[in-house]
């Protein structure tokens, strides 16, 4: 049989040819990132939809503010795509949650980001909670406590002002206005939850995302899976939870939007096994889609509060 070595040569040649052909084209990959015609605007990348909301509120009209994750996507397991990598590399400022919420994305940000990276949840003003059986792994879902979310917004404001001192005043004004709104929501939420009688004030969700929510609005919180959606609960965990639900007479269990089906199915199973019903869907690690009524932080929190109150009253 004759040796078909020319194949190797053919491949090498064709690859070189492709390289030469396309070498002729120059261009800026940022075409997909920079807006048309604006000079001096910066690229600001936000990881989660909640943080993207902050970015849009503070600087949406002044700079190119982009989010990596889309509504409904789970930051614990999100897998990076090449265009996300481009965004991370080209960003002037990256606003992320931190505390290992963004697993794979966080890793790439650590190694590849060239601009400034701000971890909004990492701050002395935020007292992180551990989960029940954790040593040293803090719960990253801090944004559910409006007090802590205010810290997020403050930090974002500072970062933006540093990046773009010219507009510092604008950021300050917007931040102050927003903080006031957050205070209002916090107060309203507390009142709403208070309408639930004490013995019924217990909510069970798919994963342990609502501890800070419970802390902020004074309601007891339990969950099927731990603080990350990656793990599966052990059989013992589930039995313990079922026993708890029965003992405390929890009226409603809640599934979540962004988590994988398996966890939600477990909620339904526990509901069937006990007398509880599935009280509704909550937004945990993501805002809702545009037009869903929960596409901003404020509307999302309100939606969650309303759902919980309605189911448990």
């Amino acid at each position: 049989m004759k040796e078909f070595v020319p194949l190797k040569r053919t491949l090498t040649l064709s690859f070189l040819a492709a390289e030469l052909f396309f070498g002729g084209c120059s261009g800026d990959p940022l075409d997909i990132v920079k807006p048309e015609g604006r000079d001096g605007s910066k690229v600001i990348i936000c990881t989660t939809t909640m943080i993207h909301d902050i970015g849009k509120i503070l600087a949406g009209d002044l700079h190119n503010v982009r989010g990596i994750m889309q509504p409904g996507e789970d930051p614990h397991i999100y897998e990076l795509k090449p265009h996300d990598t481009i965004l991370i590399i080209e960003a002037d400022l990256i606003l992320m949650n931190g505390l290992h919420l963004e697993a794979q994305v966080g890793h790439v940000i650590d190694t590849k980001a060239k601009g400034k990276v701000v971890r909004l949840a990492v701050d002395s003003r935020i007292q992180t909670l551990g989960s029940e059986d954790t040593e040293g792994a803090p719960d990253p879902h801090c944004w559910f406590n409006p007090e802590y979310y205010k810290v997020y917004v403050e930090k974002a404001c500072n970062a933006l002002s540093e990046l773009d001192p010219e507009n510092a005043k604008t950021y300050r004004t917007r931040t102050d206005a927003y903080l006031k709104e957050l205070d209002g929501l916090h107060a309203w939420g507390k009142e709403a939850i208070a309408t639930i009688p004490n013995e019924r004030r217990i909510m069970v969700t798919s994963h342990d995302a609502f501890q800070y929510f419970g802390q902020a609005f004074d309601i007891e919180v339990h969950a099927v899976a731990g603080i990350s959606t990656e793990q599966d609960p052990t059989p013992q965990d589930r039995l313990k939870l079922e026993a708890l639900v029965k003992k405390r007479g929890a009226k409603a269990l809640f599934i979540e939007t962004s988590v994988r089906d398996a966890l939600n199915v477990m909620i339904r199973q526990i509901a069937t096994a006990t007398d509880a019903k599935v009280g509704g869907v909550l937004h945990s690690d993501s805002l809702g889609a545009p037009g869903s009524g929960a596409d901003t932080y404020l509307s999302m929190l309100k939606y969650n509060l309303n759902t919980v109150v309605k189911a448990l009253q």
């Binding site: 049989m1 004759k2 040796e3 078909f4 070595v5 194949l7 190797k8 491949l11 690859f15 396309f22 070498g23 084209c25 120059s26 261009g27 800026d28 990959p29 075409d31 997909i32 614990h76 897998e79 990076l80 795509k81 090449p82 265009h83 990598t85 481009i86 590399i89 290992h100 697993a103 794979q104 890793h107 790439v108 650590d110 190694t111 590849k112 989960s131 059986d133 954790t134 040593e135 040293g136 792994a137 803090p138 731990g226 603080i227 990350s228 990656e230 793990q231 052990t234």
Partner: protein, 429 residues
């Protein structure tokens, strides 16, 4: 899914990996090359799943190393992974030698057991560290650092250096371990050396570029190379090249269609394999078809010569239509065949009339001789009915190299079963 909407035909994007992600790109290339080279041994020794197995089996090694060193220091965890990899090789060997288990089952048993052990150990760790470890062990090309690239480069140099230096020993040990052992070459040592190199490569590859890439690169490029060459050295080189090339093209593809890098590289490697399947000189579809076609042309060409001869014998002029009718071939095809025959200088054309050259006449006579000899053979030795043999002889006559042997076997017959004279050898009338 907005897949098509995400297709961005922006050629400048194709260079992004080169300019902005060189570590990820070139590390993937290194992984591709190294896995490609080692993959040749894996594929030839039928251990294809060893890559997948190792990527799972190293988990307990990593966890235990973490428990011992109590942090995620790179070298500690890598060492743990490597030791787990070697232990896997030993266990696979033990299970398959000491029990009624074949190699592939042994691989499955050992790696699933170790992986399960790893999962159980992990579930007992503090919840937070769990994903740290996972992120640590399984990387993605986009996140590779300079240090990781240097690590992979070192491994590539070591592996390729070892394979080159020990090339002939590796070749012998892989092909004929019994003879190698008889010649005094330590077969087991080479086996474990190979497994050690595979373990180290898998561990480093997983950490830099992730699971799917490593597992595929150990099998697919080598299998592609296997289709295309008969020489072991060429297979190694070609396989390494396919691995590296898949990485480059795969990363470009990933940026064009906005899909994860690792899987895109695997897709490219697979397409190369499919191409090699089709183009394989010995087994491939393309060359098979080509061979069949060429054979057909050759046979039909000889039939045309015969036809010209017959027409000339009957005293008429060999025009295109007559030949076409005699040979039973359409005119456009006939023209092609004329081209072949002209090139081989078996015919010449004058005023639309075809004539045989001397060489052509000789060949035609060979055909006639062959045909009549085959007929004699079929009647004489195969006991076929003389009325039925023409069709067979029409086919067999093209094996005219055997004519002399038939002549000898039959004792130089002068006439065929139908009474026609059999021409002499040398093609004289």
């Amino acid at each position: 899914m907005n897949f098509l909407a995400e297709l961005t035909f922006k050629p400048e994007l194709w260079f992004f990996p080169f300019t902005h992600l060189p570590e990820g790109l070139w590390t993937s290339v290194l992984v591709g090359i190294t896995c490609g080279v080692l993959g040749c041994f894996v594929v030839l020794r039928r251990m294809a799943l060893i890559g997948d197995a190792l990527s799972h089996a190293i988990l307990p090694g990593v966890v235990i190393a973490f428990l011992i060193t109590n942090n995620t220091g790179v070298w500690g965890l890598l060492l743990g992974a490597l030791l787990a990899g070697l232990m896997t090789a030993v266990l696979i060997n033990v299970v398959s030698q000491k029990s009624r288990t074949k190699e592939d089952s042994a691989i499955g048993i050992v790696f699933t057991a170790l992986f399960a052990l790893g999962l159980i150990l992990i579930s007992n760790l503090p919840r937070g560290t769990h994903f740290d470890l996972k992120c640590f062990v399984f990387g993605i090309p986009d996140a590779v650092t300079m240090e990781e690239m240097q690590l992979m480069a070192a491994i590539t140099v070591l592996v390729i250096g070892t394979v080159v230096l020990l090339y002939h020993s590796f070749k012998l040990v892989s092909f004929d371990p019994v003879a190698a052992a008889a010649m005094g070459i330590p077969v087991m040592f080479f086996h474990y050396l190979l497994m050690g190199m595979i373990s180290a490569t898998v561990v480093a590859g997983l950490k830099t570029t992730g699971v799917i890439l490593v597992v595929a690169m150990v099998i697919t490029p080598a299998s592609a190379a296997y289709q295309l060459t008969n020489r072991f050295s060429h297979m190694l080189i070609l396989s390494g090249f396919f691995g590296g090339f898949s990485a480059i093209l795969g990363m470009i593809l990933a940026f064009v269609i906005n899909a994860p890098s690792g899987p895109s590289m695997v897709l490219v490697a697979t397409m190369i394999f499919v191409l090699s399947m089709l183009l394989s000189p010995s087994h491939g579809y393309v060359f098979e078809k080509l061979r069949k076609y060429r054979l057909r042309r050759h046979i039909d060409g000889e039939d045309v010569l015969k036809a010209i001869y017959k027409v000339e014998q009957s005293g008429e002029n060999a025009t295109g239509e007559r030949i076409g009718k005699q040979a039973g071939l359409p005119l456009d095809y006939l023209t092609k065949l004329y081209g072949d025959l002209l090139r081989e200088k078996l015919i010449y054309l004058e005023n639309n009339i075809t004539s045989l050259t001397d060489a052509g006449r000789k060949r035609a006579l060979e055909m006639v001789r062959s045909h009549r000899l085959w007929e004699s053979y079929l009647v004489d030795r195969a006991n076929l009915d003389p009325d039925k043999i023409h069709i067979h002889a029409e086919k067999l006559e093209h094996a005219h190299e055997l004519a002399d042997e038939i002549d000898r076997t039959l004792g130089h017959p002068k006439k065929d079963p139908h009474g026609s004279e059999i021409p002499n050898a040398g093609g004289k009338d």
